[in-house]
């Protein structure tokens, strides 16, 4: 397994795309977070704005970039035919997928941690200047608060799970375009479709199973009672999607010709 891991790490490291894309994802998270934090302000009491969510706003965009990295880690091998070499050298296919998941997941977690920390720190500093102060009912955004720590750590895990979802879907469909389309569709379409359904109960159910909506509940630090799921349950929904995709991808990889 160590050798498989090493092989996958070498691939990820030496292909031009992933490194640059992960850097871009980190930069996007932080930059969009700063822009969002700059755009909101709290002039008085009861702003109903969740400062952690604002600071971590960049995740909406950067998750797409993380998905590209994850998808191309698998589908790139299919498009160049490299997959046949990989599987010839490492015939245990489950192990190959596990190694890919470990390497891509770990790389995403590391990048995500840097990006999320930067966003929270920068966002906290900016928001304090835009009226998010104790006088208006907001404590300074700091990792010492349990809810903010949960939002921060949870957002890093969220990006990691997005990477696993991307890997699983790519292993299932093997084509980059179809895989990325499926992943982005799963992420972005649930909330849009839920918004068009007039029945609040159906809407709530859709929110509960939507990988992005439910997964991002982890970023909530205020008004938790209004959420249809607790933050960790929400992240659990995304984890279930990722696990399901990896399982299906693994089975197809195992039993299908490459």
């Amino acid at each position: 397994m160590t050798r498989t891991l090493h092989a996958e790490w070498t691939k990820l490291r030496t292909v031009a795309g992933p490194g640059a894309l992960l850097l871009a994802a980190a930069a996007l998270t932080a930059v969009v977070g700063v822009i969002a934090a700059n755009a909101v302000s709290c002039p008085g009491q009861a702003c109903q704005v969740d400062p952690a969510k604002v600071s971590l706003f960049g995740i909406y965009l950067s998750q797409a970039v993380v998905a590209i990295v994850a998808v191309t880690a698998v589908s790139g091998e299919y498009s160049t035919g490299m997959i046949r070499l990989t599987l010839a050298a490492m015939p245990r296919r489950w192990q190959v997928l596990a190694a890919k998941a470990t390497v891509v997941g770990a790389a995403t977690l590391v990048t995500g941690a840097v990006a999320v920390l930067a966003s929270v720190l920068a966002g906290g500093a900016l928001l304090a200047r835009h009226g998010f102060v104790p006088a208006h009912g907001y404590e300074a955004l700091s990792l010492g608060q349990g809810a903010v720590l949960r939002a921060t750590a949870g957002s890093v895990l969220y990006l990691g799970l997005i990477a696993l979802l991307g890997l699983g879907v790519a292993a299932m469909v093997r084509d980059s375009a179809v895989a990325i389309g499926t992943v982005l569709g799963l992420l972005y379409l649930f909330p849009i479709v839920a918004g068009f359904i007039g029945d609040p109960a159906v809407q709530r159910h859709l929110d509960q199973v939507s990988p992005m909506t439910a997964g991002l509940y982890i970023q909530a630090t205020t008004d938790l009672r209004a959420l249809p799921l607790t933050p960790w349950q929400g992240l659990g929904v995304l984890a279930a999607w990722a696990a399901g995709a990896l399982l299906a991808g693994g089975l197809l990889l195992r039993f299908r010709d490459a």
Binding site: V49, A177, L189, P191, I192, G198
Partner: protein, 535 residues
């Protein structure tokens, strides 16, 4: 000795016109199973989502707990065919022919509640309400075809913050004297009827009159209703928060004080003519209870208090049926964007692009041919899907008790055809992005993040301030969704004009033009790079 003739193929030389290129690209598209399947999947998803939203959006009301649940009532329909709100307090007399009505307004005051369900509390229906007029509180004189909601009318009025206005048939609005009305600066209003033509005048002193507007009310019956009215839309305060914007507010009451009422023409004789007060109102209007409204008369002095509004319906109901049934646009769009990107990136991956460019070295024309074929196929698939999805979804919505707003045929056609065009242009944008990036994943992500994400953020709402959202919906390719707008915003109605309620910051075709500009820009860049780079 016989000369050996060199071999010559029996086949004629192939022609290389644009038609041949189109044919070549069409053959490619037609024969790659994945692309055809992707296009069909996109079309099916559009129809499927229409069925899903239609079947899952149930609207019902139970007037009494033990009774059956009924379909939600539709708002009244105005003379122009659009939904309107038409509830106000009407102090009226019949006008059986031509005539005029003149009055002086000396004040417009109001009360508003800051939360709904107000009427239930307290002994007095207005207890605890805050004094203040809404910007579009109105009081004045009106000539209306009948007391039925949605019937034709023309009115002269003073408003809370928009001066004197003449309004007619819900959508018409013309400005008269500016400034607020008060005892120190009263406003004189006059309406004259001759046949179907109604003229509105205003004056600051009762002697110098200015014509504000002349309108023709179609099918105004011989005996119309004329008199004084007061109405005001409710108080609303919208607070945006993460995860959604919420509006709070409650009903409001406007009270106008009138004097110097004079009538000329075919009114009932002064001795027999009695003024009748009537609360014009529908079952669902959020107005104050009838006991709060009313009028008092002392000689030619009147005070009239009313609640409700006489205005086009600006979507307090939120979702628009036609947008609801086209929810699948977003899903289908992703499928077609995937196909569009693959139409070129797969050629790079398989190396077919070298054959393509060998056969047809003019690379710009190859890209143009690809764009034409892709646009044609996706437009056709999208059109078939929307033509099926709209009636099917609206039928299901209707079955589930949702009122469906009647749309002018041209608007409906624009939405159905425009959605197909939107899908086609998005696919072409993906093709160009694919030619630029040569990576399927990158191209699909760029286009999806450019088209769908800004819309999502605008609808998900509250996450960003309204200004940023509007800006996103103006400059990103997501502006193209404006083509689905079925209603136009009205200056004379304060409402939440947001994408979530079906309003876009750009006009339908302007928004679509923004998307087309993005596609054109991407195509030009792609052509330049295709020529410069090695294939």
């Amino acid at each position: 000795m016989t000369a050996i003739a060199p071999y010559r193929s029996e086949l004629g030389t192939g022609r290389d016109g644009f038609a041949q290129l189109l044919r070549a690209e069409w053959t490619k598209f037609r024969t790659v199973r994945g692309w055809v399947i992707g296009t069909l999947v996109g079309a099916l998803l559009i129809v499927g989502l229409a069925v899903l939203t239609g079947a899952n959006s149930v609207c019902s009301e139970q007037p009494n707990p033990s009774g059956p649940s009924l379909a939600c009532p539709a708002p009244p329909t105005g003379p122009g065919g659009q939904w309107v709100s038409d509830s106000f307090y009407f102090v009226r007399q019949p006008l059986a022919g031509d005539g005029s009505l003149t009055v002086r307004v000396t004040s417009l005051t109001g009360l508003y509640a800051t939360h709904p369900g107000f009427a239930a509390a307290g002994a007095s229906p207005t207890a605890g309400m805050t004094p203040g007029v809404e910007p579009w509180s109105k009081a004045g004189i009106i000539i209306k075809a009948s007391t039925a909601q949605g019937s034709a009318y023309a009115a002269m009025m003073v408003t809370g913050a928009h001066g004197v206005r003449m309004q007619w048939d819900f959508t018409g609005d013309a400005a008269g004297l500016a400034g607020k009305v008060s005892a120190a600066s009263p406003r004189w209003l006059r309406l004259t009827r001759s046949g179907d033509v109604i003229r509105g005048y205003d004056s600051a002193d009762g002697t110098h009159w200015t014509l504000v507007g002349t309108v023709t009310l179609a099918r105004l019956p011989a005996t119309a209703q004329g008199g004084l009215f007061a109405a005001t839309p409710g108080y609303t305060k919208t607070s945006t928060s993460l995860g959604g914007s919420s509006s709070t507010g409650g009903p409001a009451l406007a009270t106008g004080a009138f004097d110097h009422l004079t009538q000329q023409g075919s009114w009932p004789a002064a001795t027999t003519g009695r003024w009748t007060g009537q609360d014009i109102k529908g079952a669902t209007d959020n107005t104050l209870s009838a006991s709060a409204q009313g009028f008092t008369q002392t000689g030619s002095r009147f005070t009239v208090s009313g609640s409700g509004d006489i205005a086009p319906d600006a979507g307090g109901g939120g979702l628009r049926a036609i947008q609801q049934v086209l929810a699948g646009t977003f899903v289908g769009l992703i499928a077609l964007v995937v196909v569009g990107a693959m139409f070129i990136t797969v050629e790079y991956r398989r190396g077919l692009i070298r054959t393509t460019f060998t056969a047809s070295p003019r690379r710009g024309r190859v890209l143009a041919a690809k764009a034409v074929v892709l646009a044609g196929v996706t437009f056709a698939a999208g059109l078939v899907a929307t033509v099926i999805a709209v009636p099917l979804g609206e039928h299901l919505l209707h079955e589930n008790g949702n009122p469906i707003e009647p749309l002018p045929a041209l608007t409906e056609a624009r939405i159905v055809v425009g959605t197909a065009a939107l899908l086609a242009v998005a696919a072409v944008l993906a093709l160009a992005a694919g030619a630029l990036l040569r990576s399927s994943a990158g191209a699909v992500t760029a286009v999806v993040a450019g088209i769908i994400l800004p819309y999502l953020l605008a609808v998900l709402s509250g996450v960003l301030p309204v200004g940023v959202e509007e800006w996103l919906d103006r400059v990103t390719p997501a502006a193209g969704f404006a083509i689905q707008q079925s209603v136009s915003p009205y200056a004379q109605v304060s409402a939440s004009y947001t994408p979530a309620n079906g309003y876009f910051p750009l006009a339908p075709w302007a928004g679509f033009a923004v998307l087309c500009a993005w596609a054109a820009l991407a195509l030009i860049l792609a052509t330049v790079l295709l020529r410069r780079r090695d294939a």
